[in-house]
Symmetry: C2
């Protein structure tokens, strides 16, 4: 769920060697058996839904790998990956949650990790572009809509959730080419269009690239393009992740809300328990 | 893609006997082999993405089932299901596309189909409630946000796409419990909240039901509840589908747009070809 769910989404989008099912409800799929690998991710290790699912998986004798900073989750793991810090917001620990999976499935190389780190440090030094987007959004009180495409469909969703949690504003995501089958007509004809701010991730797939420019033109929409930078998937992925984090973080500050404050979620969990 | 994609989404949400991977991009997952069942759905049978995927699946000797009203798609099918009408909008043919799959996997009984039909006919006779929602939305030019939960997460997405295509307005969907990890803070603190209209599908899962009421209370949000009616999943599913269709249809008419008009999509396909 939440910040941990995003790690699963990112992985499932880039790994296609075996079928991957994402589970974000209370029930484990029926097909789970002793020949299933179940990866249970919860930063705190105490997320109600995830702990319940891991328990079900253990009962079905699946091979369970847990990723958490502690909590009850490891109790159900055949392999337990413990994140060395437990003082972060789950959404700030995405790197800790996604890297063991990418490594484990051979999707990350040492060299790419070094490049990714350099890219992130560069963005830490200069994120004026991120602040620029945040200023426009804050000034006009806009609702961000983020359009991604493979391999960054989940990344568009990640941005949405970061605007939700860091900036405390509504935000929505969608992706090409599917959005051409639904969002296209409203982009041309909806009311309240000037209340939205459209981020679009650049793509090196020429088919997607053409769809982006044709959609902008036909619907007369201003797309604020964000180009993934980097020489490997891993570098581009972390660059995009960090970029979105900065936009939503700056926007929170500009709105005078505390990006880290999630006390309302705490109140809700209390009311639910 | 589009209306056909929704049929796949609905199926994958209720079937958990085997892993189901939804594909909505240009590339077939790597794991597809001769022991994979590939169901390729395109109402026209000529959707670029779907035809390309079916071709790849046939090359990999997967067992391909095609569902279409004709077109190029059946060429790649080991089993070809032909929809008897080719004069509909894809999104109006959801029943034709979902029923062969639900039947094939033993998820629909004759008796449930009869009940579903009766429920739909009742809604055809009296859909004043749907019109009521549409009037409020049209009058205040609101953006619908639809919150579902299992087994109607995909249905919330279906409603979104129907508002997009029939009413030509922006709309968004999300689902419980996941939305408690992202939309909750903005529901309490976002700007422009009075520009949205929140539909929430009722749930007979007490955990979800409690989440809905706690979320509404803590965030001080007016949830317009839609209760799924019917004695079986199939009846409730079609009831919800039809209900959303009517709201979006009425809303299109109230906005003086033609719900059936998709000429812009045609223009886009031309620009892309």
């Amino acid at each position: 769920m939440g910040g941990s769910w995003v790690a699963g989404k990112i992985f499932s989008e880039v790994y296609s060697g075996k079928p991957v099912s994402l589970v974000d409800s209370y029930e484990l799929p029926e097909f789970v058996s002793k020949s299933t690998l179940v990866i249970a991710i919860s930063y705190s290790g105490n997320t109600e839904e995830t702990v319940g699912l891991a328990k079900q998986a253990a009962q079905k004798k699946a091979h369970v790998v847990t990723i958490s900073s502690g909590g009850m989750l490891p109790e159900y793991g055949n392999q337990k990956i413990i994140i060395p810090r437990s003082d972060l917001q789950p959404r700030s620990a995405t790197g800790y949650m996604i890297m063991p999976i990418l490594y484990g499935f051979g999707l990350a190389k040492e060299e790419d990790v070094r490049h990714a780190r350099t890219a992130l440090e560069a963005l830490d030094k200069d994120n004026a572009q991120c602040l620029g987007h945040a200023k426009t959004i804050a000034h006009r009180e806009l609702i961000p809509v983020i359009y991604g495409s493979s391999p960054f469909k989940s990344m568009a969703y990640r941005w949405k959730t970061q605007f939700n949690e860091n900036s405390k504003i509504m935000a929505y995501s969608n992706y090409f080419p599917e959005l051409n089958h639904n969002d296209t007509l409203p982009l041309a004809q909806t009311y309240r269009k000037d209340g939205f701010y459209f981020f679009v991730f650049g793509s090196d797939n020429p088919k997607i690239s053409k769809r982006i420019s044709v959609t902008a033109e036909i619907t007369k929409t201003k797309f604020n393009m964000i180009e993934p930078k980097g020489s490997s998937y891993l570098e581009r992925m972390f660059y995009m992740l960090h970029y979105g984090d900065y936009v939503s973080y700056h926007l929170g500050l500009l709105r005078n809300v505390d990006p880290a404050d999630v006390s309302l979620i705490g109140a809700m969990k209390k009311a639910l328990s």
